[in-house]
Symmetry: C2
Subunit: 354 residues, 2 copies
């Protein structure tokens, strides 16, 4: 198959991990006789430097034509003092909205070899394998009005949803649950928010279409507790944009492997933006220390969700597992009897196994 | 001193733990020659049963005249299917709003004897001692509009603040930090929300009035991570109503002692509502199993914050620590070489030490 991939390296360690992602995709293309073409564009802080805006029109146009997009990371202290619309993060929010990337999928898995690095006790975190499906283009992060009023004496933000926006993310979550352990936890604050009551109703309506999936409703405060006390009890979690932001970051530190966690953001045509969950880590940028695994596992998600290449995706996952098994790791991780290597060395070892 | 206390036992285990709280307050009055008078009123599910509303006018009037209020717990599956305005939780939200209880203080401490019950590794949670100051009468939980629109096709909730509402909670948090370890973490989502940008500005303005307190800003997603990975790095956290709901519940399970955690909700005149952090636990209600410690420590907060009785408060805390030291505990907790007793027995032992 022929696929066109837009790379958005971004800031900090973004370019390093993007390079690793590209190498892995190229290796997959070689082995499975696909043709992947690549095109790089600016986003975030580096786009501010080059073009005076975090999301150049060029980047948007290229992304709209791509079969899939890979993003490294955006942001850094250098741009933290800029006004809201000129922040690197605006680039990310902008591209999500412009491409309609409403479904953010964030799997969290406990890697047996890394459990010792978890803040949780082994018996608590062991066996955890969950997927957070976060609504990504609506809710509190995009609702209007979002403004000062009355001469700066008041401020409002708005949590707004249209029915179809909730329906499509709930469908996505049910479909994800179906190919996993068939349990869906819908997280809301239905005892307080009207939007949560509508969310809950829609989940109840949709249930009938997925009789093989069991459904549970959980309040967001209870979910924040249970992620810590019993993470392995979850399969798929679906929730509003901001609840999802908080819960998915909370979940990302449970297994001691933040440097290993991928993500996918999909639109209705399954064009997706794939990015590691970790940030731009400006403190280690340019030192070839960054862990490329999160990015490489993000390419596996790309192969699966945007290209329908199940076998190729599994091959990438197996290569990562194999290299971990052999004890290779970057400096962010501490493996018993492991061999510490640089980011590019680790990527090369994974490429070798493909 | 003479003080008048309104008791709101509420639902589930609420009445049992309220009884323990009252006994402790009476013991304090006896020992320190105060006169505490008590008056009980209905709230939540039990008020729905008795009066057809979760917050009878009677209860509000009594609470308004009290020097302090103690609340047991509200809610239960029995009332979960009722429409929004008839839910037990409405009673709690209503009384917060009617009394202007804008400042919710939730201390979380690691009890050395209970660390083994924490989901976190001992070395991670050890030494944790933090206070979450949650804004309680504004933000996303109270903003208007909160409604369906366009024939049920759309829904909105509103996160709204007036400047003075943010100022007073930030002042409260600085004052709390001042009598603790003098470090304040203000949590927001300033890279996305306008209300968070205003919140951050106000914290920056107020800083000058508290030169002895160091201030740090943290994004809510980062805070959700750091609570798990490094809880002992926090002193005081101040944040918006809903962020505070999520983070304080997340924090409450870190130390393995949810049954031990008190809370206070204060208004501008320091009249306060004091309640255990745990819920109504309908599954064990009426069995004399409920742990009274969270409620008893809530009375210590009452003595301190509403009555200015520092010494009395410390006496209550010392009594709790003493009884724990002797190994007595309720069934929710598992102490090495401990002696399991009923809720009322544990309360009696604490009363004895006052
Ligand atoms: C950078 C920021 C706007 C973004 C978000 O909150 O959506 C990030 O935290 C994420 O979770 O992808
Ligand atoms: C019962 C509910 C409305 C309440 C809240 O979210 O404020 C509770 O969860 C709390 O934290 O006190």
């Amino acid at each position: 198959m022929e696929k066109h991939i837009v790379l958005l390296p971004g800031d900090g360690i973004g370019p390093e991990v993007t390079k690793a992602a590209r190498q892995v995709l190229q290796a997959v293309a070689d082995r499975y006789q696909h043709t992947f073409t690549f095109e790089s564009h600016d986003i975030g802080g580096s786009a501010i430097e080059q073009h005076g805006t975090p999301l150049p029109e060029d980047t948007v146009q290229a992304a709209k034509k791509a079969d899939a997009i890979f993003l490294g990371a955006v942001g850094g202290p250098k741009w933290d003092q800029l006004p809201g619309h000129m922040r690197p993060e605006k680039g990310l929010l902008g591209i999500r909205k412009q491409l309609g990337l409403f479904a953010n999928l964030r799997p969290v898995q406990a890697f047996q070899q890394l459990l010792h690095a978890s803040p949780l006790k082994k018996e608590v975190v062991q066996g955890s394998d969950l997927l957070i499906v976060r609504e990504l283009t609506g809710g509190l992060y995009f609702g209007q009005p979002s403004e000062r009023r009355n001469n700066g004496q008041e401020v409002v933000d708005t949590l707004a949803y249209e029915r179809h926006e909730i329906e499509r993310i709930v469908d996505q979550a049910f479909q994800s649950a179906r190919v996993r352990r068939k349990h869906l936890t819908s997280v809301d604050k239905a005892n307080v928010l009207e939007s949560s009551r509508m969310w809950r109703e829609i989940v109840e309506e949709k249930k009938a279409d997925y009789p093989d999936v069991t459904v549970e409703h959980m309040l967001v405060d209870a979910a924040a507790m249970k992620l810590v006390t019993n993470p392995s009890s979850f399969d798929v979690i679906v929730t509003e944009n901001m609840f999802g932001d908080i819960l998915s970051d909370e979940a990302s530190v449970l297994t001691g492997s933040l440097g290993m966690l991928p993500s996918a953001s999909l639109n209705e045509k399954s064009v997706g933006l794939y990015e590691p969950v970790h940030g731009s880590a400006p403190d280690i940028a340019g030192q070839n220390k960054a862990n490329p695994v999160a990015s490489i596992l993000s390419t596996a998600m790309m192969l699966k969700h945007s290209f329908g290449m199940e076998e190729e995706a599994e091959q990438v996952e197996a290569a990562v597992a194999g290299v971990l098994q052999e004890g290779y790791h970057t400096a962010d991780i501490d493996l018993k009897n492991g061999v510490k290597v640089s980011g590019s060395e680790l990527a090369a070892k994974i490429v070798d196994q493909i």
